[in-house]
Amino acid sequence: MEILTLVYIGCFSFFFGGTASVFANPKTRHNLYIFPVIGGIFMAAAGLQLINGHEFVMLPYSLTPYLDLRFNAGPLAGLFIFAVSVLTSAVSVYTIGYAKGMQRGGFKGLFYNLFILSMYAVLFSGNIFTFLVSWETMSIVSYFLVTFDRTESSTIAGLIYALMTHIGTAFIIALFFMLYKYTGTADFDAMKGKMELVPQEIKNIIFLFSLIGFGTKAGVMPLHTWLPRAHPAAPSNVSALMSGVMIKTGIYGFIMIGLDTLGQCPEWWGITVIVVGSVSAVVGILYAIMESDIKRMLAYSSIENIGIIMLGLGASLVFRSKGLNALSSLALLAALYHVLNHSIFKGLLFLSAGSVLHGTQTKDMEKMGGLLKKMPYTGLFFLIGSVSICALPPFNGFVSEWLTYQSLLFGFETSSTLAKIITPLGGAALALTGALAGAGFVKVFGISFLGLPRSEHSANAHESSSPMIWAMGFLAVLCLLYGVFPGIVIDNLLSPVVLSVTGSQMVPAKAGMFGYAVNFATYTPALALTLMLVAFVFAVMFLYGMGGRTKIVYGESWDCGIPALNSRMQYSAMAFTKALRQIFKKIYLPRRELAVSYIVKPFFVRSIRYKGEITPFVEKHLFEPLTKSIHSLAERMRELQSGSLHVYLGYILITLMSLLILLRCG
């Protein structure tokens, strides 16, 4: 089918689903989410065609003689469209079950579909005006979704989100103006050919602005403060979309401008991105492991994964600046694979978290426990998502991390000492985040799903409905497939995109559909899986030979002989990572309040009040002083508005006289 047809059907599906849900009967409204599913499938097909090089150009719609909406897309956009579509379909299936009986679901359905359409519009944008309009729409609609439940925390979250995204957009507008001014054209395609008209200093500024502007949307440190507030506040299906694909539009913008359009680059661009990525990754996961709220933890983990993607992009920039295009392609491949992977496993994790929230009515890990027995499917899929995000073989997270490691290690091939030092240290940062993520997700899964229930919420939990389970299952299977068959993914999805951006094929061959090879280092996941299965068969046979059938007697957990083991004696979420809070206290700057009241001091304690918290570094030391100084500036400026008509007339007079003098002298 032609791309244009696919896109039309897809967009119409979303549109219809959105408008219909406003007018639908609340009891059956949730079934209307089948339309986004259909839309997603068609758009995924369109994305695949775009990746494989089919052209897509629509005639521009002229709104005014100077502003026209231009939609076209190439392989890079096609990849992101594919990622968006896959996750959209899965999340929409989930929502069929999730939206049952939801309050004010009509408008939620409308906003949901509009949000997805606006993301597609961003990806399909062919010129500056279209991009900015779609970008704004996306931000505004997601603001409405974030503040949908109208609680105080989500209102504040929405406000911070709106502020920060507009700061980012300001930078994006500025860089687009600069591009327009120097190249004389507003079309992205035409711009690429005219980049030699832009002087190098301006290119540097454009690059920095794109890093800041698109980085705000992506959640790069230190511009990430909106993420941990906004993603938990939104409903779970929207959180999955926001974390899975909306922040990737920031990455798309950064690749489009920073890598694709700007062309040849100096080395310090790549080094900056690597440093920014490492800081994002390490600090992001450090904050994640301290969280007791599941969704906040997942939000911080998204910041970490964006950092990993930036590591790959930074390496790509460094290689490009040295002219090593094949290595640059490898690094870009690693980053794009991680984009795909993250959208899948983060979507899966947020959907499972939503399922947990739905089943227990709480987000607080400290109130959970033993959920694996009450919600077996959610637990299994959450486990698969956790194993994937911790980059453990044979799931998909490991493939993109392995590729990122390889591309960073190749930094040694460049001739500059700075690159030789920074890239392996980036690899060490990657190892650190991998280990930290392991701790974080053992904590999340272990505290929430294993052990004894810590409260009534989790003791009375119930499993989610079928559509929710099917959606999570689909994503979990994708995690496995993307992990075990990287060759297929690379050949069909990623190679053409990388080729289109860097113009060169990657460093040597692929080892067939089951593995991937880079300069003598190979990773063949199917092999690792086979070896593990062989070992398993051996273990089972050996044990049977040794001791016959498994004989199990069930009893109590080891309780040191003290009866009445209860759920309070388990580790709590805060306790699990307390050691890390102590070890990294220079970063966390933890504070605690301890108030003990005694019946007989110091032997008999009546009650203990404990409060511990960590300092969010960037918020406290960057944004709070900034907002304070803006407030004080605003206070001063308020003095200008004295309320007296005479003063205002005086202002007008002074302004008029100054302008006349200026005109006279100018």
Partner: protein, 309 residues
């Protein structure tokens, strides 16, 4: 050689309890005791495999799956490593990063198994194990990266057979860092005490506390396999003598003898480290492991500054 190559993991599978027994006996001798005998771990394993299991009713299927996952990942990792011949690890097998992350997969599930019983001991073991892993992983990866960079690939056989000089300062620093990492990963004094029976001092043992019977047997065997695997990796990366394939039966004999000597040296080293040190308090570990991390960074910088080879 291919047949030998594909079966060499059996050496690790069969002889890892022997290495463990050797370390225990050496430790005993150094501490003035008689010791349990080098074959004791075999007797223990055989005894465990025949016993009935007691499983806590708080646990879920994760508890039961963990011993198999840990065992399979350790064994799969050891199938990828060149032990007596490097011929098999080229190409499809043997990427250092893959091996380390397979071991990390085992650790992830072991930590989950510790949390599954809903006791404080398991939680403590899991929490501490993941904390130690956080401190150890970057150091180990960086030490291996230095070797990988000098050899031009992360394939472990490639590192082993490449001509990189093993006595440069950068490699010695990396070796020092890697030895500390091995001590930490094999849960030995000064990081953890493998012989302790006090739950307060357990890290590795804490996670195994609830296991009994054949599950415990699998976990103990996996521990021995992981230990011998780490020794092998250390030997392959830093002392690859005897690994380069010589043809014929005498070449194989030479390789096996060289390997046996290397394992004995590592065992003696471990026993010596354990006997001459006291276990560190948990919050003193960042000092030790951070210092080793600095060593690995130094090894990388030294390598860069002193040029290639």
């Amino acid at each position: 050689m291919m047949a030998i190559g594909s079966l060499q993991f059996l050496i690790i599978l069969i002889f890892s309890p022997l290495v463990q027994g050797l370390i225990k006996t050496l430790k005993a001798k150094m501490q003035g005791r008689i010791g349990p005998g080098v074959l004791q771990p075999y007797y223990d394993l055989l005894r465990l495999f025949k016993k009935e299991m007691v499983v806590s009713n708080v646990t879920s299927w994760v508890f039961k799956a963990t011993p198999y996952i840990v065992f399979c990942s350790s064994l799969a990792a050891s199938m990828m490593v060149p032990i007596v011949t490097a011929g098999f690890s080229f190409g499809a097998f043997g990427d250092v990063i893959v091996i380390i992350y397979l071991l990390a997969l085992g650790r992830f599930f072991m930590a989950l198994g510790g949390l599954d019983a809903g006791t404080a001991f398991g939680g403590e073991g899991s929490s501490r194990e993941m904390t130690v892993a956080i401190l150890v992983e970057p150091m180990m990866m960086l030490a291996m990266f230095t070797a990988a960079i000098s050899a031009g690939s992360t394939n472990i056989a490639q590192i082993a057979v490449s001509d990189h000089a093993v006595y440069t300062p950068s490699h010695l620093l990396a070796l020092a860092a890697f030895v500390v990492a091995v001590v930490a990963e094999t849960a030995r004094v000064p990081v953890d005490n493998p012989d302790t029976h006090l739950e307060l001092t357990m890290i590795h043992e804490g996670m195994l506390l609830e296991y009994s019977g054949r599950y415990l047997g699998l976990m103990e065997w996996s521990y021995c396999i992981k230990q011998m695997l780490l020794f092998t990796i250390c030997a392959d990366i830093f002392f690859p003598f005897g690994l380069v394939a010589r043809e014929g039966l005498e070449g194989l004999g030479f390789s096996i003898a060289a390997y046996a000597i290397k394992m004995t040296i590592m065992a003696v080293l471990m026993a010596f480290v354990e006997s001459s040190r006291a276990k560190l308090r948990f919050f003193q570990l960042p000092g030790l492991l951070g210092g080793a991390f600095v060593l690995s960074v130094l090894s990388l910088l030294t390598y860069i500054m002193m040029g290639t080879k």
